[in-house]
Symmetry: C2
């Protein structure tokens, strides 16, 4: 390895990407555990019931739209790891903004599947890992949902970095499939079942570790162990949604990689 | 115990308060671990450098002010557990708001020491548990700081509920000290060193558990264990700041409890 390393290369080593994805698992698991404090609270995200006459979005959609605007104003979306759910035109930062290294291929960098992530999250994931019911605590629930959505979205869109490094490592493997727009071949090139199994096992263990009740006195009855979010469910959330959606991002990115 | 329990009474049992405080420890520890991903990034909260001419606040202050306004609009501060850092006049919710049971004594319920919490957090706590440095990632850092501030503030202001239940349990113990504004006597009545030691031990264990690196293969070298936030530091943060500040809230609340 050369002793002079350009910043963009550092960011793009497979090791650093792997490390980031592993660390992001903790964030995802924490956010699911925190959301599980509240019941489903579906009126917050299902019903358009804003008192403002001009607005007919749900409370959660209103909240996320407004928060994303504020976050844009402090430069969140200058970071290529962050992708907004609702902002078509990203407001300029009102603070001097950081220059992030441009490691992604510019014509592919705008891949954004947050509309799908939003639907999957509220329709499929959320009802799985929270208890049913309505406690009226919509403001806190919306803040927790946003934390989950952003953690999940960041993880899934990290697929752009994964795809870029894989492409750079072996462009000739990918070019024919990209040129022929062969999605299936690309998906095959990107799939490593053993790695996926390891991720699923690890996040299950993380959910066990982070979602347990920690007590001062140890030696508690192990058979009684209760978890804040069922560990096997976190494994399933990764296996059925997070990993496949990440690969979808990788494929979408690669399809534009030679544009 | 009577079979008919009024909601406000349920909320005010010492057991339910204890349970909430224990669960809030997880939230506090998660938020510290998440913040520790980023270095100090002090320009975000120290320098007034907004590009908007009318505004001279730091990025973090700007961010928290704006986010609190949005959160108010979805009803966050209708919840007596939540206390804003900057809002003097809380904007009305633009959504129908939940009726939270009024369990606090109304003339004491507005106790808010968030200005002190803000200073303590940025000047004393933060430099302890994050690494020094500046990676420019201010938007994500500000979001993480807000999560810490809100978790810590909620924990500390929960002292109002603690004080209310303690007062209701034994009003005659507290009344003389309240009438003579004897802060020291109140502090003595509210202090249980054994309980405080237990809390400090438990949060240390939580920091160990939640801040460890979880690997797929167990049997790792125990001596190598690295934590995302030093567990003894979390214990110290509770012992030196969170517990004393909670008791300050309790005292301030009690001083107004007979108004």
């Amino acid at each position: 390895m050369s002793s002079v390393v350009v910043e963009s290369d550092v960011q793009l080593s497979l090791d650093s990407i792997r490390e980031s994805l592993i660390r992001q698992e903790d964030t995802v698991v924490f956010s699911l555990i925190e959301r599980a404090k509240f019941p489903l609270n579906s009126p917050a995200f299902e019903e358009p019931r804003c008192l403002d006459s001009g607005n007919s979005s749900s409370l959660t959609e209103f909240f996320v739209r407004e928060i994303e605007t504020i976050q844009a104003k402090v430069g969140r979306y200058a970071n290529p790891e962050e992708n907004p759910f609702f902002l078509d035109n990203i407001p300029h930062s009102v603070f001097p903004s950081h220059k992030y290294p441009q490691v992604l291929y510019s014509k592919a960098s705008s891949v954004n599947i947050n509309k799908r992530i939003w639907d999957v999250y509220f329709k499929e994931l959320l009802p799985l890992f929270v208890k049913p019911g309505d406690d009226g605590n919509y403001a806190s629930t919306a803040a927790s949902d946003l934390a989950c959505l952003q953690a999940i979205s960041r993880r899934i869109h990290y697929g752009k970095f994964v795809a870029e490094v894989k492409f750079r490592d072996a462009p000739h493997d990918y070019e024919p499939a990209i040129r022929s727009k062969d999605t299936e071949a690309l998906m095959k090139l990107l799939t490593f079942e053993k790695v996926e199994e390891m991720v699923k096992k690890r996040v299950e263990k993380k959910a066990e570790t982070f979602g347990q009740e920690v007590k001062c006195v140890s030696g508690d009855d192990e058979s009684e162990k209760k978890y804040k979010v069922k560990p096997s469910l976190v494994s399933r959330i990764y296996g059925e949604w997070l990993i496949p959606l990440t690969k979808d991002v990788e494929v979408e990115y690669l399809l534009r990689r030679l544009d």
